[in-house]
Symmetry: C2
Subunit: 223 residues, 2 copies
DNA sequence: CCTGCCGACTCCTCGGACAAGCTGAGGGGT
DNA sequence: ACCCCTCAGCTTGTCCGAGGAGTCGGCAGG
């Protein structure tokens, strides 16, 4: 039955079992599940166990229990964890998605940046130049600069997407920098300076172009 | 103690309480929480209630309980539900994000499309032209065509992001189409045809440009 | 220093009990 | 015929006590 020792708690097994039956369509969206007592008898486990399984699925947003009424299906599937998807995705895929988001954000930033955004951009750029171009600290400074661009774009959704990429990209960049240091730190900084300039100048096309060019370089370094 | 009548179950309150304390840094990442018995006594609730609260947070991925060892913090915050973020985001924000993703995907599709991709693209285009340009059916056909482009880009992450946008965009498009029908169905179809042609011709710049132009038109219609 | 044993601590599961809340059927009034 | 109120029955919420199973750290022995 199980390839390895199956040390899963009963409650977790019960949760998995219920999720399977929900997915199978046995209980359609909005439908009421059998009572906890009935489920416990049906599955041959205690009511407390069933309750914990239901809680677990409630935490995932699949079920919703209302006192006196019953337990109801609120979603047919678990909205897969975004982090999980990212972990599975190849670093090249993530970088391509990042290019898409950052290039667009750079263009928007060129149109929408406020004076405060520009100040933050200059500060982040200076901080990025301050440290030596290696190690985790540099990656952090670099990330902060790129994030500042996203902030200047004034689009919450794009920013949220960028933030969700950060952990995955951070790991890969730190690794990359250790194996293969930046060839020309001066040129690298110049690219970022040009991006900031284009945003300051209010030139969406140039900003997108600079952003894309920089990230494409990084992507090609990886492949 | 409580400003309003506590109509939330004790277990839910306990879960919220624990989440707050995790967020506050009282229990750092990887740290062990006090025992269930201790927590129950500390919060003045039963042990079963604490267990259900822990299960709820475990379902959300914040806690992880290991028999014999204890309960540990696995994440400092709940990764906010992607659907939730999208629901809150303005439709303009979503459309801007969609432009970013689709334009990049169109460029990638132009470079990576297989013969099978091109066949699917032609089929989707024909299906889109078949029905009358109104109602939910048309929105579905349109969505399928755009999704086919994403598939041809051969980047799982971009596709996943597109799919997560679909429900939100679908609602908005259906609404928009009812209020304001497409002025020139012929021109609309021509734009899609040009996008498909650019991808077939293997011209990334043109494909991105066509995709961007089409979606920008939609965005401007909305604002 | 390494190994194996052992006990304390912790989570896991169960069964039972009572409280709190919702639902729908039925009675009474208009 | 229609509406409103009441109430019995079912369901979830909460708590308790008990025993089983697993993990970790200390301790004695090699």
């Amino acid at each position: 039955m199980s390839p390895t020792v199956q040390r899963h708690p009963l409650a977790a097994q019960t949760a998995a079992h219920l999720l399977t039956r929900v997915r199978s369509g046995e209980w359609p969206l909005g439908h009421k599940l059998p009572g906890e007592t009935a489920l416990a008898a049906q599955l041959g486990v205690g009511r407390s166990t069933v309750r914990e399984a239901i809680r677990e699925l409630a935490g995932k947003g699949v079920l919703d229990s209302r006192q006196g009424a019953g337990v109801f299906v609120t979603a047919l599937d678990v909205t897969e964890d975004w982090d999980c998807v990212l972990r599975r995705a190849s670093i090249v895929s993530v970088l391509e998605a990042r290019i898409a988001i950052e290039a667009e954000a750079a263009a928007l930033a060129a149109q929408r940046r406020t004076p405060a955004d520009l100040r933050a951009l200059r500060r982040a750029l200076a901080a990025r130049l301050a440290g030596r171009p290696e190690g985790e600290a540099f990656v952090d400074a670099d990330t902060r600069f790129h994030r500042t661009v996203l902030v200047a774009a004034h689009n919450d959704l794009l920013l949220e997407m960028f933030d969700s990429f950060v952990p995955r990209v951070h790991r890969a960049m730190t690794e990359l920098l250790r194996v293969q240091p930046i060839r020309s730190p001066h040129e690298d900084h110049a690219r970022h300076q040009q991006l900031a300039d284009a945003i300051a100048a209010g030139d969406p096309v140039a900003a997108a172009e600079r952003s894309r060019a920089h990230l494409t370089t990084v992507k090609e370094t990886l492949s």
